[in-house]
């Protein structure tokens, strides 16, 4: 079976900054792929590039085999019907002068998905599906709480019946008690509609609850890509390991001496030679300073960009 979305060597430069520096992955139909990493790693830029909200500098994006980067005019509009986005901040992603109903109805109108008479009915259906009421359609964003606004943004994204939704930190701006509601809603919707999510987040603990596969980004590149269980049970890249270790556990009896990652993320204008993680890596050896590792196969779908993987394979 071919993938729904294939991203190949995607690059985005902002002047001297290599924000996305050769990223490749696939998303299958109905799958949740999480793209995780710390601020500045290029995860949001990747999401925006593949929807062509910003234009990538190089690379390939294929959706059901079609080259997304070549699309113009009507073709591009058609692509947007299949791929939608939910942004982090529902305070700035909703138009304050439009009602919830107008915002959810607009994509239906733009893509001519139903007749004018049917729009109100469709909007009401979508509102109910995200846990709001038809009457909420007449309200403006400022009348909603943060969690409700994010529900409106999700309804808007789902209005066109997309096959892929890029969710860019969809719950990072919400309180924890509301976060869980939104995550559960997104999971229900996925089961109901079969939509695939590219779930972009900095929160590994959150991602561990809903991802089928996880891609970890560091300085513009994917350093590990693995099925959920393998990544959290046996991470193969030292950066993934460090990220998992640095999450504080909400249990005072488990205060552990944590192995902290040395140094800070380098400036994306001066990406280190060799493995980009080597200056902070506790296991770095000669080869890591000289040669950048590609994503190496660790078996059962797990890949890590680390020379230790190769050393391990040879040892066996």
């Amino acid at each position: 079976m071919s993938a729904l979305l294939e991203v190949c060597n995607l690059e985005k430069r902002f002047g001297p900054v290599r924000a996305v520096d050769g990223v490749s992955f696939t998303v299958d139909a109905g799958e949740v792929l999480a793209l995780v990493g710390e601020s500045g790693c290029g995860k949001s830029t990747t999401g925006r590039c593949l929807l062509r909200l910003i234009e990538p500098s190089a690379g390939e994006v294929r959706f059901q085999g079609e080259d997304v980067l070549q699309l113009r005019g009507r073709g591009l509009r058609e692509w947007r019907r299949h791929a939608q986005i939910v942004f982090q901040d529902p305070f700035s992603s909703l138009d304050p002068r439009m009602t919830a109903g107008q915002m959810i109805g607009e994509p239906l109108y733009v893509h001519r998905l139903c007749g004018r008479q049917e729009i109100d009915g469709r909007v009401a259906e979508l509102l109910e599906r995200v846990g709001l009421t038809a009457a909420d359609g007449r309200r403006y964003p400022h009348e909603f709480s943060g969690g409700q606004r994010q529900r409106v943004a999700i309804a808007r994204a789902l209005a066109t019946g997309p096959q892929l939704v890029v969710a860019d930190e969809p719950v990072a701006a919400l309180d924890v008690s509301v976060q869980a509601q939104i995550i559960n809603l997104m999971q229900d919707l996925q089961q109901h509609t079969g939509v695939a999510y590219l779930f972009i987040s900095h929160n590994l603990a959150l991602v561990s609850h809903l991802a089928d596969r996880v891609a970890v980004m560091y300085l513009g590149r994917i350093v590990e890509l693995a099925p959920h269980e393998a990544l959290f049970r046996a991470p193969r890249h030292p950066y993934t390991e460090a990220l998992i270790a640095s999450i504080p556990v909400p249990d005072p009896t488990q205060r552990a001496e944590r192995r902290l990652l040395a140094g800070e993320v380098p400036d994306a204008r001066h990406i280190p030679a060799g493995c980009r993680f080597h200056p902070r890596c506790p296991h770095a050896f000669e080869r890591c300073r000289a040669q950048e590792p590609p994503l190496l196969d660790c078996g059962s779908g797990q890949h890590a960009a680390c020379w230790l993987v190769e050393a391990d394979t040879q040892a066996r």
Binding site: S39, V178, Q179, A180, H228, E229, S246, R255, E264
Partner: protein
């Protein structure tokens, strides 16, 4: 004797012609060398509590009453001039976003030295060299050179270290940290928490940590106070709060925190239904009433904070009955 004790603190906010209580009857104390975490979601009043202690509430807010005793002086009774000596002196402050809290037109060295001149009366040269030492102590490499840099030239983590340096330079008795790691990545957060712990231990400082992150609380706090809708709804030593949470809100909050799982099909995240109530229309009842799975008739009255086991307090009818 505690370094700081807050009693019956109340702050009101005016909105649309009316006034409502954003902080109501808040009380706690922190001993030297100990950490109290004030936890809650946005709008619960935790930051307003901190601002009231600093006497920095915004114009729409008013301190209605209470006491903030810092080393036997009631801060709420001091003149603004005396208060200026307290802020940055006996009372150090760290805010969430170092980029807005630090002054962009002064170098970080100047911002640390300023407090040393003002509060300790050091001469400029002496203040500068102490500032450099302080920057070094909080883990800024090449501190002598970096002291000449402006906030925008530092990374987020280094900026937060600089702010910590400015906050602790005059050896405050109490350090008030409002979401000190919320704007930072997890790997940087771990370093900053370590630094705060180290400084606190070395200087026997009392730390009031304000945060929404229960992971950070578990990592740092000796005692925890959970706020909801302007009230402290539960207060307990950290092991008791995490091990035997008594208030349904605390239990809900602990359950909703996503924890790392490697299970292939993790169970659904538990959530708390509804949303935080509008403080302007709070009924004369338990503030959690509308969202509480255990609510009954007895909850339709204002509920006092009651001790359910030594040192463990909860503002809940059910928790109090359970204890009896």
């Amino acid at each position: 004797m505690p370094v700081v004790s807050v009693r019956d603190l109340a702050v009101s906010i005016s909105r649309g012609g009316g006034r409502f209580r954003a902080v109501d009857g808040v009380a706690f104390a922190v001993d030297a060398g100990r950490t109290l975490a004030l936890v809650g979601e946005s709008g619960c009043g935790k930051t307003m509590t901190a601002l009231a202690m600093l006497r920095l509430v915004p114009p729409v807010a008013r301190i209605e009453g209470g006491e903030v005793i810092l080393r036997d002086r009631d801060l709420l009774r001091l003149s603004e001039r005396e208060m200026q000596d307290v802020r940055g002196g006996d009372l150090g402050i760290i805010f969430q976003e170092p980029l807005t809290a630090l002054n962009p037109v002064y170098t970080v060295g100047e911002q640390v030295a300023e407090g040393l001149r003002r509060h300790l009366g050091l001469r400029p040269r002496e203040a500068w060299s102490r500032a450099v030492e302080q920057l070094q102590e909080v883990g800024i490499p090449n501190a002598a050179r970096r002291a000449h840099e402006y906030p925008h030239q530092l990374s987020g983590g280094m900026r937060q270290r600089a702010m910590i340096a400015a906050a602790v330079a005059c050896r405050p008795a109490l350090l008030l940290a409002d979401e000190p790691t919320t704007a930072l990545d997890v790997s940087v957060q771990a370093h900053i928490l370590d630094l705060l712990r180290r400084l606190q231990a070395e200087r026997d400082m009392a730390l009031l940590l304000i945060t929404h992150d229960l992971g950070v609380v578990a990592e740092m706090a000796d005692e925890v106070a959970v706020m909801y809708a302007g009230h402290i709804v539960e207060r307990a030593p950290a092991p008791a709060l995490f091990g035997r949470p008594a208030h349904p809100y605390t239990r809900g909050l602990l359950a909703t925190v996503p924890r790392l799982t490697a299970e292939a099909r993790p169970p659904r995240l538990p959530s708390i239904g509804g949303a935080v109530p509008d403080l302007a229309h709070l009924p004369d009842a338990c503030g959690f009433l509308a969202r509480c799975p255990e609510a009954g008739e007895a909850c339709r009255q204002s509920i006092p904070l009651a001790e359910i086991e030594p040192g463990h307090w909860a503002r809940c009818v059910c928790a109090t009955e359970g204890a009896e």
